[in-house]
């Protein structure tokens, strides 16, 4: 059996490692950075790869995604960065256009948009609706949401190698989390969910920063709770969701943002279409944004919110 060496590094360093590895492997990979303190992932890249491959778009705050899309059309693989709050006015329509060109006309548009999600400048713990509400309706746009450092590396590498536009949701509150990350060439396929906690009595479905709360709740309860980490939000891995519910018969959707989020709606649609006959209890949804606001952002409150949802379903 092949042994894979791993390193204990932070989520942020895992993303940076993916960028460095892909830029080394493929000279066509370009990173667009505004080189600001808010962009720690790109620190040091320009010194290593030069200004021709790490473009400073400080003067293109509104057009960076559009310009990056154009460069991708011209044959580069471009990684750019945009904050979730700025997305509607700073490039959403260009991602839409890139997705349409790739999906409908088969044109390669290899652009990766790192969408920074997290506490808002107004002090709310999270954007209560999340960028998913704009991104998921875009046909052909792939959206991934890594929950761990290893996934952050693997999904970023997968996104860079994808021929179409991919949005990587980076939950900035995860940046400091340390995890075991495979060294060397490591990629995760886009479109595949993973089971991160085994169980047989009910399924919890989560992504991004919500996964840790779901796993902690499942571990605390020790009651046969399976946790499915979606990893990719579009296209959704419906098969994995249905397969898990077929085993457990119950499902709780845990969202980092609101319980009525676009992801929750997509997952519910997948369940109605594929797992309706497997359900032994009504679907339940938990939005961690509300719990976080009520508790002042305490991690324990987030875990408790998931546990309450699990308890309700387990006793149904």
């Amino acid at each position: 059996m092949e042994t894979v060496s791993v390193a204990q590094i932070t989520h942020r360093d895992a993303i940076a490692e993916a960028l460095r590895a892909e830029m080394t492997r493929d000279p066509g990979v370009i990173v667009v950075s505004d080189d600001s303190p808010g962009s720690p992932v790109c620190d040091g890249l320009v010194q290593f790869f030069g200004a021709e491959r790490v473009l400073d778009f400080d003067r293109a705050r509104q057009t960076a995604v559009g310009i990056a899309s154009g460069m991708a059309l011209e044959g580069r693989r471009v990684v750019c960065e945009v904050s979730a709050a700025d997305l509607p006015s700073h490039g959403l329509e260009h991602l839409d256009e890139a997705a349409r060109l790739h999906e409908q006309e088969g044109v390669p548009v290899p652009i990766v948009a790192r969408v920074l999600c997290g506490p808002t400048s107004e002090g709310w713990p999270v954007d209560r609706d999340g960028p998913e509400r704009w991104l998921l309706p875009i046909r052909g746009l792939r959206v991934v949401s890594p929950a761990s450092a290893a996934d952050a590396k693997g999904l970023m590498v997968g996104a860079i190698r994808d021929p179409g536009p991919v949005c990587v949701l980076e939950h900035t509150q995860l940046y400091g989390d340390v995890g075991a990350v495979p060294e060397g060439d490591y990629t995760l396929p886009i479109g595949e969910a993973g089971i991160v906690h085994d169980g047989e009595r009910m399924t919890v479905i989560a992504h991004g920063a919500a996964v840790a709360a779901a796993v902690d709740a499942a571990t605390d309860l020790d009651a046969g709770v399976e946790v499915v980490d979606l990893r990719t939000l579009a296209p959704l891995d419906s098969e994995a969701i249905v397969a898990s519910i077929a085993r457990t018969g119950k499902a709780l959707l845990v969202e980092e943002t609101a319980a009525t989020s676009a992801v929750a709606r997509a997952v519910m649609a997948a369940i109605w279409e594929g797992a309706f006959e497997h359900l032994d209890a009504p679907l339940r949804r938990v939005g961690l944004a509300a719990a976080a606001v009520e508790s002042g952002g305490l991690a324990k409150a987030r875990v408790n919110a998931v546990k309450e949802g699990c308890d309700e379903l387990l006793s149904y």
């Binding site: 003067r59 509104q62 057009t63 310009i67 991708a72 011209e74 044959g75 329509e93 839409d96 006309e105």
Partner: protein, 269 residues
């Protein structure tokens, strides 16, 4: 869309655009304008749009055909799909096989950066209407194109004879080359100025703007007033009349217009 044809748009030959127009090239411009109109109308009718509304958008045929004729083999065209004649002129595929976004200048700037990065002498041409200039992104993208001296040609369709805000056209700094077309209904005038702009950009002297002024009835912003009777003269009628005055046989013109119409009508999505 757009990674463009290997043949000259108007002549159909592989030697690039011709320096002067004569005979067959002029009739080909007319054919392209008619094909663009008929194909656009056909597409909009298939999409369920009312014929009266669908037929109201004129003068884009002259701008699209003229701009496409200015490009050389391998040049990029990044234009909304409504400039059907431009896309057909660049042989980029079926109607609708084009960009749909309203704000394409950032993408055009990105393509131009890529072109320069490869050391290529290609030119990137984008077609816009003046609404696209009313954004900060326009100024930002144009300022970058100017500062980096990118090989970018922007053909802007305008309703008014002068820029409403010179700052919108300047792009900051020294600003791009400005080459105005007084009559957007004249495909030869558009082609001539767009070709000058392309040569300027190709020579590494930075972006160039070609505002094309559509003649409108005073007080009637016709480009937006799609629900009413068109107020803009028909560029195809104007150009056909011009060709007749240049002694192109009337029968030949009628045949060109009819065959273009039939070609578009026969199109199935």
């Amino acid at each position: 869309m757009a990674k463009i044809a290997t043949e000259s748009a108007v002549s159909g030959r592989s030697s690039g655009p011709q320096k002067t127009l004569y005979g067959g090239s002029r009739t080909e411009l007319l054919r392209l304008m008619m094909l663009g109109r008929a194909a656009g109308l056909r597409a909009r009718m298939l999409a369920g749009e009312d014929r009266r509304v669908a037929g109201a958008r004129r003068h884009r045929e002259a701008v699209g055909a003229g701009a496409a004729a200015a490009l050389s083999p391998g040049d990029w065209l990044i234009a909304p799909g409504r400039y059907v004649a431009a896309h057909l002129g660049r042989r980029s595929g079926a109607v609708g096989s084009s960009f749909s976004g309203p704000d394409l200048i950032p993408m055009a700037v990105g393509v131009a950066i890529g072109v320069v990065g490869r050391g290529s002498r290609q030119v990137v041409l984008t077609l816009l209407d003046e609404r696209s200039m009313a954004t900060e992104r326009w100024s930002e993208a144009l300022a970058i194109a100017t500062a980096e001296r990118l090989p970018l040609v922007v053909v802007v369709e305008r309703d008014r004879p002068a820029p409403s805000d010179p700052a919108l056209m300047s792009g900051g700094g020294d600003g791009p080359l400005l080459l105005e077309v007084a009559d957007a209904l004249d495909p030869e005038a558009v082609m001539t100025q767009a070709r000058r702009a392309a040569e300027h950009a190709r020579a590494g002297r930075g972006p160039a703007l070609v505002p094309c002024i559509a003649s409108v009835v005073p007080g009637r912003p016709a480009a937006r007033d799609v629900g009413s009777r068109p107020e803009i003269a028909d560029p195809i009628e104007l150009y056909a009349g011009r060709l007749m005055r240049a002694r192109v046989p009337r029968g030949e013109i009628v045949t060109i217009l009819r065959s273009a119409q039939e070609e578009a009508t026969a199109w199935r999505p």
